[in-house]
C-alpha cells in the first residue's frame, strides 16, 4: 500500500518536473522570439539565465577573473550575433555551451604563445609537496589540483586540452565532446589518450 502510494507520488513528481521543464523551454523559445523581433533589451534575461553555466564552462580554461569575464562577454556577444542560427532543435543551454567551448579553444590558441613565459612560480608549495610525496597521500585540495593541471596542460595542444578537460573534469561523454567540438568520436578518443600520456610526462617533469 505504502509502496504503491510512493510509486504514485514519484510518478506525480516526475510529471510535475517534466511540466516545469516544458514550461521553461516554451518560455525561453518565446523570449528568443521576442528578441529576434527587436526586443533587444530582453537579451539581458538570457544572459542572467545562462551566465552561471557559461562561467562554469570557461573557468576550466581561464583562471584570471578579468580574462574570464572578458571571455564570457565575448561568448554572449557571439551568441547574440548568431541568434538567427539557433533553430531550437537542442536546448539553448547546449547551444550557448558550444559557443563557450569554441571561444575557449580560440582563447587557448591565443594564449599558447605565452605559455612558456610563466612557470613553477604559479604553483603553490602545497601542490608541489603533494606531487612529490611518494606515499598514499590522498587527493590534493581543489585549488592545488587546478594549479598543477593548468601547468601540466600547457604541454598540450589546445584541442587536446579541451578534450581532456571536457572528459575528465566536466565529465562529458565522448559523443557529447564530439558534438561540441565538431569532430568524430574516434578523434576524441585519440586526443584523450594522447593528452593523458602528455599530462603524465608533464607531471613527471614538474615533479623533478
Amino acid at each position: 500500500m505504502t509502496g504503491q502510494a510512493g510509486r504514485n507520488l514519484k510518478r506525480g513528481d516526475s510529471a510535475k518536473w517534466f511540466g516545469h521543464i516544458t514550461d521553461a523551454v516554451n518560455d525561453e523559445i518565446q523570449l528568443l522570439e521576442r528578441i529576434r523581433n527587436g526586443a533587444t533589451d530582453e537579451f539581458a534575461e538570457i544572459v542572467r539565465r545562462h551566465q552561471a553555466r557559461v562561467f562554469a564552462v570557461l573557468s576550466r580554461y581561464e583562471r584570471d577573473a578579468q580574462r574570464l569575464e572578458d571571455l564570457a562577454q565575448e561568448t554572449f556577444v557571439k551568441a547574440w550575433r548568431a541568434l538567427e542560427q539557433f533553430d531550437g532543435r537542442a536546448p539553448f543551454e547546449h547551444w550557448i555551451s558550444r559557443i563557450a567551448v569554441r571561444a575557449a579553444i580560440d582563447h587557448l590558441r591565443k594564449r599558447q604563445r605565452v605559455r612558456n613565459e610563466v612557470g613553477f612560480d604559479e604553483v603553490g608549495e602545497d601542490a608541489l609537496d603533494w606531487l612529490r610525496a611518494d606515499g598514499d597521500e590522498g587527493e590534493p585540495e581543489a585549488g592545488a589540483a587546478r594549479e598543477l593541471l593548468d601547468l601540466a596542460m600547457r604541454e598540450l595542444a589546445p584541442a587536446d586540452r579541451l578534450v581532456i578537460t571536457l572528459q575528465e573534469i566536466e565529465g562529458r561523454s565522448v559523443k557529447e565532446i564530439a558534438g561540441l567540438m565538431g569532430i568524430s568520436g574516434v578523434a576524441v578518443r585519440v586526443r584523450a589518450l594522447r593528452a593523458r600520456m602528455k599530462l603524465k610526462s608533464a607531471l613527471e617533469k614538474i615533479k623533478n
Binding site: 533589451d41 574570464l68 569575464e69 538567427e84 587527493e139 598543477l148
Partner: protein, 96 residues
C-alpha cells in the same frame, strides 16, 4: 588510483566562480554597439561552407572574362576573322 586521476577528481570538486554582479549589463553595453542580428542568407551559408571554393570560383570567372575581353579586342569581329582566314588559304595556292 594514480596521481593524474586524483588531480582530475580534486579539480572536479572546485566550485566555478560566480559572475560579477551586473554582468548582464556589461554584456548589454557591448551588444548595443553591435548591429542587430540579421537573417542568414544562402550566400552566408555557402560562404561558411565553401570559403575557398567561392574565392577560387571568383578567380576563375575573372580570368575567363579577362581572356574573353582580350580575345575580343584582338579580333574586331567574325567577318574580319573569316576574311583573313580565307585570304591566307588563297595565298597558299590552294585556291581555284
Amino acid at each position: 588510483m594514480n596521481k593524474l586521476e586524483k588531480l582530475f577528481a580534486a579539480a572536479r570538486r572546485e566550485n566555478p566562480p560566480a559572475p560579477a554582479e551586473g554582468f548582464e549589463f556589461v554584456v548589454m553595453q557591448a551588444i548595443k554597439h553591435e548591429p542587430a542580428p540579421r537573417a542568414v542568407t544562402v550566400f552566408d551559408q555557402m560562404n561558411v561552407c565553401f570559403p575557398r571554393l567561392a574565392g577560387a570560383a571568383v578567380v576563375v570567372i575573372a580570368l575567363c572574362v579577362a581572356g574573353d575581353w582580350l580575345a575580343g579586342s584582338a579580333q574586331t569581329n567574325l567577318t574580319d576573322g573569316v576574311a583573313q582566314l580565307s585570304q591566307q588559304w588563297l595565298m597558299t595556292g590552294n585556291g581555284f
